[in-house]
């Protein structure tokens, strides 16, 4: 399936979305940093828990800091020269401020705009243990980009997101916290619930988005509100298994991941996110995208 944006393409979500609200983040973030600062001290005295130990539900954000988990962020890029430095800066800032162990895996599909050159400069700043460059020879698709990235990932959790800044790293601590509190297999960002929201869409876009999502929810009954979103946190082995069982491409791929997850009885949580339509570069959605979306949806309806 063709990718949503034609000129400066990122592997996007179906840029049709719907109603979302603002994040009430000022409050929760301050609560978060309070909890963290307390916890760092707590954890200096506590012993190490094994890597695969899953935490029991907590009432606080208390194992955000000092935890033993490592988070690998997969960033498939194609012509993201302008976006990549900023998104990596934001990621590093978020992870450092929350004391989260991380690595960023940049999977560049031989972008003609020199994305890889910029990525190399960033690697010099942040270090080779934080930024891993795993380029590929050409545009080979989103599913294989994730497979490629996972092979090199050393974290036990994987974040997938768009590199075009439509997904903001500030939501990651909350996604991690939700994952840990319920030991979830998947946490997905949703633009359609709670304080979620979208910026930069006109009425037509909103109608298409809501219509597409309604159609998908009626046909597939997936149990999650944002099927086509692509800002998600997975347990590494869960992501591997889902990718291995998925057959679709493009944003239908993101839908299929959720539908298959339900099929395998994985637990899924949702965190409201704001989605700011790409700042640099074009984001196009034409009739072709709608047609291929409908085709992909129908295939899933029949297959899963």
């Amino acid at each position: 399936m063709p990718l949503p944006s034609t000129t400066t393409t990122s592997y996007g979500e179906f840029n049709s979305s719907s109603s979302i609200r603002t994040p009430s983040f000022s409050r929760s973030e301050s609560a978060l940093s309070d909890a963290i600062s307390i916890d760092i001290q707590d954890d200096t005295t506590s012993s190490f828990t094994p890597l695969l130990h899953h935490h029991q539900p907590h009432q606080h954000f208390n194992n955000m800091a000092g935890q033993n988990h490592k988070y690998s962020v997969l960033l498939p890029t194609y012509n993201e020269r302008e976006n990549l430095p900023v998104i990596i800066w934001l990621l590093a800032k978020t992870f450092q401020e929350n004391n989260i162990d991380y690595e960023i895996i940049v999977i560049d599909d031989n972008s003609p705009d020199g994305t890889l050159e910029v990525a190399k400069q960033l690697q010099k700043i942040y270090g080779e243990s934080r930024i891993l460059l795993r380029p590929r020879a050409g545009k080979l698709g989103l599913g294989t980009a994730y497979v490629h990235g996972i092979q090199h990932a050393t974290g036990d959790f994987i974040f997938i997101m768009d590199a075009d800044m439509s997904h903001h790293p500030k939501f990651m601590p909350e996604m991690i916290q939700l994952q840990q509190s319920k030991n979830l297999d998947i946490v997905t960002g949703t633009r359609y619930a709670g304080n979620g929201g979208v910026y930069g869409w006109d009425l037509k876009r909103k109608v298409i988005s809501r219509g597409a999502n309604f159609l998908a929810s009626v046909l597939l009954r997936p149990g999650v509100s944002d099927l086509t979103g692509s800002f998600r946190l997975y347990k590494k082995e869960v992501l591997s298994q889902l990718i291995a069982s998925c057959i679709s491409k493009g944003y239908v791929f993101q839908m299929e991941m959720m539908v298959r997850a339900r099929q395998f009885n994985y637990s899924i949580g949702e965190v409201p996110i704001t989605f700011v339509d790409r700042v640099f570069g074009d984001s196009k959605m034409g009739a072709m995208e709608i047609v291929s979306y409908a085709q992909g949806l129908f295939k899933l309806f029949v297959a899963v």
Partner: protein, 93 residues
């Protein structure tokens, strides 16, 4: 069972029951008004109801769609911070 199979099963069973009632294949006597007036239009009523529900659902969610200008503004500020910080560290952006 795929979603398509589930849907086909549901519609198959519903249609069978409906047709059996409509053509009086079963030894059940429905009130005359139901038999003569309600049953013939029931599928259309269901179709229109579903359409109305769909439009209502989509319309409601489009109307309550919240733009998030504050997220955009925050991002703009952070983009310029990031760019100046990274430029000072020698990244060519």
């Amino acid at each position: 069972m795929t979603r398509a199979t589930q849907a086909a099963t549901f519609f198959g069973i519903t249609a069978t029951i409906y047709l059996a009632l409509l053509f009086q294949w079963l030894p059940i006597t429905l009130p005359k008004t139901v038999q003569d007036f309600t049953l013939p239009v029931l599928p259309w009523w269901a179709l229109v109801s579903f359409g109305a529900y769909s439009l209502g659902n989509i319309g409601y969610h489009v109307l309550t769609f919240r733009d998030c200008p504050e997220a955009y503004n925050e991002l703009q500020v952070q983009i310029s911070q990031a760019q100046s910080d990274l430029r000072s560290k020698g990244v060519s952006i």
